[in-house]
């Protein structure tokens, strides 16, 4: 729990960040937040409330129109192309639709996480150093699917593809992990597995993790800290214990409904994610 940690320098700071799209829509409205390493943050809110925009500002897939974003003390909004790529290498991201290169093998997809760490001439020729290949395989082992290394990415199930995406993010050796609706395309048991894995990883690697979630009960189950967005503004920021029905109404502007809840999982299959202490499956 954040309150138990000794005082640590914040890793990510947003100062009055706003995003206005060309069509006039204000997606983020003077958001100011600060995050420490290792936190597991879940962002909730209605569609269009700014969840996706907020997450994508952190690696500048979306450019903020106002404000500053500081990561490890540097203002990334001022970065040029080369610095931005360097910075993105330290931020892993997974997406709702997995976004793997479908026709490439699983291993090649995971190796994509090493692209920014290696000189371009090597990667373009496909000459990945043996150590990087080993690292990629290790990441695959860690998410539980080492045997799929040479299979085409699109032959895997949804849950497996998402795990490949996680492995790719891990291969970057990141300090921050972004997850934009990572479980929206998965069935409930798989969704819970993925979230458990993400939380475990966050703990073990001390990764500051941001997860966009649609379902309130899942958010409450896994988050250390919840950020509630509404119309681009932060209307809630605190531990899950602080969430009540009235805060829910503030975020969603209505009373809680059954379809806001994913539901508990009946069959909890053991997580395929290996804790760091076990070397080989």
């Amino acid at each position: 729990m954040p309150s138990e940690r000794p005082s640590v320098e914040p890793l990510v700071v947003l100062e009055n960040v706003s995003k206005r799209y060309p069509n006039g829509h204000l997606a983020l409205d003077r958001v100011s937040l600060s995050f420490r390493p290792g936190e597991f943050v879940v962002i909730v809110g209605l569609s269009g409330a700014g969840k996706s925009t907020l997450i994508r500002c952190l690696n500048r897939l979306v450019e903020p129109t106002e404000g500053r974003i500081l990561i490890a003390g540097e203002d990334i909004t001022r970065f040029g192309d080369a610095d931005l790529r360097r910075q993105r290498a330290k931020i892993g991201m997974i997406f709702q639709n997995y976004n793997l290169v479908r026709r490439s093998s699983v291993l090649r997809n995971v190796l994509a996480g090493r692209l920014a760490h290696l000189p371009t001439w090597r990667t373009v020729m496909g000459w990945f150093p043996k150590d990087d290949i080993r690292l990629a395989l290790r990441c695959l082992q860690r998410v539980g699917i080492p045997e799929k290394a040479y299979q085409r990415a699109d032959t895997l199930s949804g849950g497996q593809q998402q795990r490949v995406a996680i492995a790719r993010a891990l291969a970057q050796e990141p300090m921050i992990l972004l997850a934009d609706e990572p479980v929206a395309s998965l069935d409930p048991p798989t969704a819970h597995q993925v979230l458990r894995d993400l939380k475990l990883l966050s703990r073990e690697e001390n990764l500051l993790t941001f997860v966009n979630l649609h379902f309130v009960d899942m958010a409450m189950e896994y988050a250390d800290r919840i950020i509630g967005l509404r119309a681009g503004k932060v209307v809630f920021d605190g531990p899950t214990t602080g969430m009540t029905e009235s805060t829910f109404e503030e975020i969603y502007n209505r009373r809680i409904r059954p379809d806001d809840l994913r539901g508990a999982v009946d069959d909890r299959s053991p997580t395929p994610l290996l804790p760091e202490t076990i070397v080989v499956r």
Binding site: K130, R134, R138, Y150, A171, E173, E205, N206
Partner: protein
Amino acid sequence: MSARTARPEVAETEIPRPPFPWQGWIAAVAVVGLLWWSSMPPPIGTGFNLREVVEGWPQMQVFFQRLFPTPDRPWPLDYLPQIVNRMTETLKIATAASIFGAVFALPFAMLAARNLAAGRIVYGFGRGLLNLIRTIPDLVLAALLASAFGIGPLPGVLALTIFTFGVVAKLLSDTIETVDPGPQEAITAAGGNRIQQALFAVFPQVAPDFVAYSLYAFEVNIRAAAFLGYVGAGGIGMILNRDVKFFNYGRVGLIITTIFVTVLIIDTVSTTIRRRLV
């Protein structure tokens, strides 16, 4: 995974063998072999080599340059009326062929569509015949017909009619197979036979597509007719052949420009009409 991870574990990981891409290598070897064989000097291959291309390039440039008018060698504009005459003939060939071909294609397409054919044998025969017709290049057909019917527009019309027939019938029968079966069932339920089904249920649904395909065939036929004359099938291609033989490049340039312009105009008009139909 980083300074945080115990690196020895990474170093111990074994890299499994990737599966050997047999199919890829066999295909690559086959293709390279084919190309190598093809570029060998005759009589084994085509004798393709870059040096000759480079050497012959200036002459080709001369050819292209001679097509265009220059101040002291302008285009023979007095030749234009003859060109327009011939171009009109080409247009007539294309029009006649498109109409005949489409008209014959319509009933045949009904035969060759799975949902209208009077049985699998008829369907198979229809499809087979269509494939056969579409395999013969139209220029070959035109050359042969010119021998049979004598030089002039007639073999051109015949060749393109057959070609149009093939193209339209195939496109149309494919469309017929994707038609909504509802109206057909209604007519069958009311006791109608296949012909009535075709007329009242299928045709109204595919009529706009039929017109669109015919127009498309017309577009193709204009180009084809323009060059069929090269082998004696009438139209502008015939004077093109003659002028190329006699090195009258000024005329050749004028002819080609006329063809381009005509094709461009007709393409634009036809495409617009087709878009509004479908």
